[in-house]
Symmetry: C2
């Protein structure tokens, strides 16, 4: 029975842009598990009723339904222990990687790219996205990202923990990527799919790491349509 | 043969204040390994010549000499695999915890407490410390920490990744502490030993976590002389 993964996308089902869905795409590829992508859009809450959840990713594996990206990664290691491990039997420190990524990295990144997202969405999703995010920020999305070029150097600087953690190593996982890499890389795919903004200078070690991540699994991430030419 | 640990201290050898030394104190206790503390001060570089290194912690275990706190923790797991593990056979994600702690947490914390350190030191160490740190910051240490009360809420806010990672868990290691906890806790011991500044509000979940850390191993950390009454 093929694994099915409900993934957030734009009008174009190939434009998977949720960073949390990208974590699981990469995790499934890491484990060598085939899956069927089920395109999902913000306003299709009914399509997730079976999971008693209102957000993606949602993974369906036979009669198992698993929600929340961290729990899905843990499930994949538990259910497929003979396939390459994502968290090596000890998820605890990866919780911190996710906590930093979600609160600090994604918080800053969103303020650079959120106004680029509506253009990807169909009319219903666009209306939902704009009104819910404007309510969250208390301003228009254009106001959120205003002056982003000037804020970019500060953003690049805020990624110092990643840069330091990669010193002398190709991946956060060490010589090979693991779930720490996928947790962080999801954010870069989010940006790549929705925004033409160039986040990282060419000479940044994070740029080289991101290139390695784009190359994994036959260039799976690189072949996804990107916003910047 | 007893393990010896060279540790940075003030004039009073009980005032161990280096966050990196605290990581190893806690790690040794975690593994149930007895050790002899060898007090070391900044200007005693000669005493470390045998290790071909100029910083502590330095761990001596029989004829093995190990430097750098992360490498010491890794050594302890490798050399004593039957004692409780610090990093569960997979140090990679702990590198990120240390990278965030060293660059972001300690960077901010130092700007709150560095001017409190000279009072702990003897004359030679004080002269070395003040001149080297003033050169690093390009200003006096009093100027570095000026207005710290006003900066404290921003510091507390910058610890959000820790707070989020502890949601629903007693320790960063999960139900029990592991090296992720010791990596971070070292910073709180640094502050506790050198500065009267109260870093965390009583109702902060991090405050409760720090209390749990202070209680570990028979209150080992709590019984160390603190600067704040």
């Amino acid at each position: 029975m093929t694994i099915r993964l409900f993934e957030l996308c734009g009008t174009d089902p190939q434009r998977i842009f949720s960073p949390f869905c990208w974590r699981i795409r990469m995790a499934l590829a890491h484990k060598g598990l085939e899956f069927e992508s089920v395109p999902w859009r913000f306003t299709q809450k009914d399509a997730l009723a079976f999971a008693k959840h209102d957000k993606v990713p949602v993974l369906v594996d036979g009669d198992r339904v698993v929600v929340e990206s961290f729990d899905i990664a843990r499930y994949l290691d538990d259910a497929y222990p003979d396939a390459p491990l994502l968290m090596h039997g000890n998820p605890a420190p990866y919780v911190f990687v996710a906590a930093w990524t979600d609160s600090m990295f994604f918080g800053e990144l969103s303020r650079l790219i959120v106004s680029d997202i509506p253009a990807l969405l169909d009319a219903a999703d666009r209306a939902y996205f704009v009104s819910s995010r404007e309510a969250r920020y208390g301003m228009t999305l254009e106001q959120v990202t205003a002056g982003r070029d000037a804020r970019l150097p500060g953003f690049v600087q805020s990624l110092r923990p990643l840069r330091n953690a990669l010193r002398g190593r190709d991946f956060l996982g060490g010589a090979a990527p693991d779930h720490a890499d996928y947790i962080v890389f999801g954010g870069f795919m989010w940006a790549r799919v929705v925004s033409p903004l160039a986040l990282l200078p060419q000479d940044d070690p994070l740029h080289a790491w991101r290139e390695r991540m784009l190359d994994l699994f036959g260039g799976m991430a690189r072949s996804t349509p990107a916003a910047g030419g």
